[in-house]
């Protein structure tokens, strides 16, 4: 199960409508980065047969089964820090992450 906070969902919906296409949001991980794994956050234009999908505050979240192992239970938030704003993964599987938070280990 993967969820979006309401604020994150609102922003994703806005971006999707401005972009003018896309069925939802694709989350994933890939092996790279200083701590082993890195997050991927992309627009989803299609859902593949093996994908798992979740619905959160009206936004479809698409995850491939391999990534889901590392993301199960994650909540995606949208926050603002000064002028900077963006998405943040609250991932219970993470044991340690690099200082920047862009990559992590389970």
């Amino acid at each position: 199960m993967i969820t979006l906070t309401e604020r994150a969902a609102t922003h994703v919906s806005n971006f999707l409508s401005k972009r003018g296409k896309g069925v939802g949001l694709r989350l994933g991980v890939r092996t790279s980065g200083c701590s082993g794994l890195a997050y991927r956050i992309e627009y989803a234009d299609a859902v593949n047969p093996e994908d798992q999908t979740f619905e959160s505050h009206g936004v479809k979240v698409v995850v491939d089964p391999k990534s889901l192992q590392f993301l199960e239970g994650t909540e995606l938030d949208f926050t603002r820090e000064g002028l900077n704003e963006g998405f943040k993964f609250n991932n219970p599987n993470v044991k340690d992450e690099c200082g920047c938070g862009e990559s992590f280990n389970v």
């Binding site: 890195a38 992309e42 900077n84």
Partner: protein, 624 residues
Amino acid sequence: MALLQISEPGESPGPHRHRLAVGIDLGTTNSLVAAVRNGIAVVLNDHDGHALLPSIVRYLRDGGVAVGRGAEAEQARDPRNTIVSVKRFMGRGLKDVTHAENSPYDFLDLPGMVQIRTVAGVKSPVEVSAEILKVLRARAEESLVGKAGGELAGAVITVPAYFDDAQRQATKDAGKLAGLNVLRLLNEPTAAAIAYGLDNAAEGIYAVYDLGGGTFDISILKLSKGVFEVMATNGDAALGGDDFDQRLFCWVVERARLAPLSSEDTRLLLTQSRAAKEFLTTHLEARISATLMSRETVDVTVTQKEFQEMTRPLVAKTLGPTRKALRDARLEWSEVKGVVMVGGATRMPHVQQMVAELFGQAPLNNLDPDKVVALGAAIQANVLAGNKASGDDWLLLDVIPLSLGIETMGGLAERVIPRNSTIPVARAQEFTTYKDGQTAMSIHVVQGERELVSDCRSLARFELRGIPPMVAGAARIRVTFQVDADGLLSVSARESTTGVEAAIAVKPSYGLTDEQITQMLKDSFDHAKDDVHARALREQRVEGERMLEATEAALREDADLLSTEESAALRTELDALRKTLACTDHRTIKSGIERVNRASEAFAGRRMDRSIKRALAGRKVESL
């Protein structure tokens, strides 16, 4: 914890691999910075939520600098040290600055670029602009990288299409001085077209009408297969929203019967005039009230109708360049598929109305006209920084503002590359020698639309030496003009039999202001008829002189082929031709040439026979 952005499918950057690039609209009145976030171009706001940074820089006695609203608030109190509309001074000498006498600044007329003496020392327009860019850079880094800090990969800064090399270079220098990696300068109208997504629109012709704070630009863009081609540009670098403020200000001064004002009061009333102008976009009347330093009070009301009447001539000034751009692109009004409105001044209802009437269609204005340029620049910056899959980048073509050519005999300009050709471009043309045994040729590169070299601008001269001696007209000299993507012209000349070559590199628009370009174009229209006549006259003179020279050379060589009478008759015609060369009607010279031609026909025939005999003497038929 880094804050993440949504990427396009399959384009997620690796950790720490985000290449952050911004687009900056360095405007006369306001400046903005934008970036592509979550795949969408957005303008980056400051902490107070403002997108527009007033392009105003105030220098303080302690060496400090205030930029934007902070500077704006004090400009009425400290006009000498508060620099507004610095873009007008970029790359300009004092004589190029319009309304210099109305400016409150202490100008220093230095070679190259005007400088301003402030309480914090002498500042160049490049330094002033860099202060504006530094603020935008800090805003962008804070927005994109967060407090953790980090560097921008680069920036695209926009410039008016009409900016010359000196102005473009000054803008680039300002970017560098502000610590930005300037990926490229982008013409403002092209940026606007990108922001409107015209690259994804139906193919066709689009016009971009940009009436900003200090510049007016009209660009005719052709979109085909997702590629923008700038077919023609025109404009007026000294016309913009500021002029509307100035006009209203003058009206207020007249209406209130004010004595000459101090610089503080001038600034105060100009600011009030600008506010009134903006108010009149959505209201039928505006009130201007102020208390001056002299304790005088000003309280006048201006209606929308009055304002439109007094500024109508300014709106009308945009018509000429617009027509010219369309004419240069060889297009009819009906062929324009869409008109994009750019610049805050296009919000004025009478501007919208006039453009709609001119093009016979409602212009595109659903994006904020103050932001479109920055948004387009951000999209371009994102592509250039390598964040976009390839095949999606634009090839933005530019045009040559004035024709390029060389001087030919008689002081005539021979066009090699016509104006408004898109660059990069290469054109070659063959020329030949004028005299027998000529071994060198002087190549004079000129720029302009006039027929005579003396009316064009000289760019460079070089010589091609080592041409093998041949009879006049036998040598084949190929002159190649090449203009690269940065507008750098190189000219080479090559004699084809020996391969001797000479070349030179020149910057075609170097030091030419837009006014000069406009003037040169205007002259070519005004003098079109005279020029054609002058060209015909020079051509006939050159032909006449060549004829005299060739015939006399032949007479020296083969006088024995003519009887005394024949020789005398030919010499009479030659003398007659020599006399006609001084007259101003090309037809007279032409008839003189024809008479010499007829009189020398028999002579030419006999010479031909003799040279064939010589060539064949002592040779067998088989060996030929």
